[in-house]
């Protein structure tokens, strides 16, 4: 045959591609099965919880009625006073109990080929957003791979996450830059 090697190689390549596609569709089916299994479990739990809730509600209603009777006896002026005090109390605790200040903070750390700068947005001690503002020393392919570490930081609400394999330097740089930014946001 004239192009024997070429034909053999085309065949091998097609086999590999078929294997990859087959593997992916199997994975998809597996995850779907798992999701349906989990869903049925969750549904069962919801049913059980609903029953529990009904019981609790009945008990609560009884308790509320008892309290209403007691409240009716108290004076209206005294009630207003206590509610005002409550509000003031809660405001004071809010500000001092938060570990981080709200707002956006920038941090930087060494990546692969230079400094990576990130902007971390915080609200009520929660990391709501992380943006890479500058990473001039980074290869764009590796940087876009490394960016996936951002979503894992946000979902874990922690910088103690795994680095992206294949883009270790860039993702480590992003993690360290976020740590740097969080350090600046700490309440004294």
């Amino acid at each position: 045959m004239k192009y024997q090697s070429f034909c053999m190689r085309v065949l091998c390549l097609l086999l590999i591609l078929a294997a990859v596609i087959g593997y992916n569709s199997m994975q998809k089916k597996d995850t779907q099965d798992q999701v349906t299994r989990e869903l049925t479990q969750v549904e069962k739990r919801v049913d059980a919880l609903e029953e529990q809730q009904k019981e609790i509600l009945a008990a609560l209603e009884e308790a509320a009625q008892n309290q209403e009777n007691a409240n009716a006896q108290a004076e209206t002026g005294a009630k207003e006073n206590t509610s005002k005090e409550d509000a003031a109390d809660s405001e004071a605790t809010d500000a001092s109990e938060n570990f981080y200040k709200d707002g956006s903070y920038t941090g930087s750390a060494q990546g692969f080929g230079g400094a990576i700068e990130v902007q971390v947005t915080l609200k009520d001690d929660e990391i709501t957003d992380i943006q890479v503002t500058s990473a001039s020393g980074e290869d764009s392919t590796y940087l876009s791979q490394a960016q996936s570490v951002i979503s894992s930081i946000i979902s874990a609400q922690s910088t103690d996450v795994d680095t992206v394999s294949g883009a270790t330097f860039s993702s480590t740089g992003i993690i360290n830059a976020v740590i740097d930014a969080l350090g600046k946001a700490e309440n004294e």
């Binding site: 990859v20 590796y142 294949g166």
Partner: protein
């Protein structure tokens, strides 16, 4: 003839230098794409397209359509190998007054060319079994890409540094030492079905009986004859084409009419 050889070599060096400066990481990015497939397999996750696979995909398609010109002209590590070998040639000529291009005998080259497939299989298996994390700091490519990024590798890359130095020494002893014998990405490229129209063909009818200049000049000592079991080893350096005194070698099949004319 000599003038044409020099011109082709100059063009090639210029292209290689350009890619070396602007895209020194292409080859390791391409391999990172291959690795990402096996990492997904090891983690029992579906294989998803990522930015590494962009590079791998483009290079594989280019290779299938136009041959391994990436290896011959664009790969920074290949260019490094050429630089080391040419430097050794120059020193041999100027100081030891030895002529000709040194290298290993054909049989040794053939045997060593298989090593890269074993290395590729070993690397991919180690990713599947989770060994790969233990190989951290052993990759000579990591050390090389750090150096091209202007960063000094730290002590944890000791083995990688030693391996890189050994490879550099090997590069001096044989043209395209790493590409032919060790490169795992080269092994992937060599297995690609390169279109017969992109392979080097020889008009055998016009060849004198005992010439063999092209085979002698070829860094991989290939018998240039279109689609052969070894045609994947060709890195498209065009040395055979320029060397042939009768201009018998070209990319693409030789037209039958030309043979008949002779």
């Amino acid at each position: 003839m000599k003038k044409k050889q020099r011109k082709v070599r100059l063009i090639r060096t210029a292209i290689q230098l350009g890619f070396f400066i602007f895209y020194p990481a292409l080859f390791s990015t391409a391999f990172a794409g291959v690795k990402s497939i096996f990492q997904a397999l090891a983690a029992h996750q579906p294989i998803t397209w990522n930015s590494f696979l962009d590079v791998t995909g483009v290079l594989l398609v280019i290779t299938i359509l136009f041959g391994r010109h990436f290896c011959g002209y664009a790969c920074a590590f290949g260019s490094l190998g050429d630089a080391m070998y040419e430097l050794t040639l120059f020193i041999r000529q100027k100081i030891f007054h030895k002529k000709g291009r040194h290298g290993y005998p054909e049989k040794v080259v053939r045997a060593l060319q298989k090593v890269k497939y074993i290395l590729l299989a070993f690397l991919l298996l180690s990713i599947l079994t989770g060994w790969y994390a233990k190989l951290q700091g052993m990759s000579p490519w990591d050390v090389f890409s750090m150096l091209t990024a202007g960063k000094l590798p730290n002590a944890s890359y000791k083995i990688g540094i030693v391996l890189l130095i050994l490879i550099l020494i090997g590069m001096c002893t044989q043209e395209r030492f790493f590409c032919q014998f060790l490169c795992p990405m080269g092994a992937v490229f060599a297995m690609m079905p390169i279109l017969p129209t992109a392979l080097f063909h020889r008009n055998r009818g016009k060849c004198p009986a005992k010439c063999g200049l092209c085979k002698k000049r070829c860094p991989a000592h290939l018998e240039i004859d279109g689609d052969t079991p070894l045609s994947g080893e060709c890195i498209c350096c065009h040395a055979c084409e320029v060397t042939c005194p009768r201009k018998n070698i070209q990319i693409g099949p030789v037209k039958d009419r030309e043979t008949e004319k002779k």
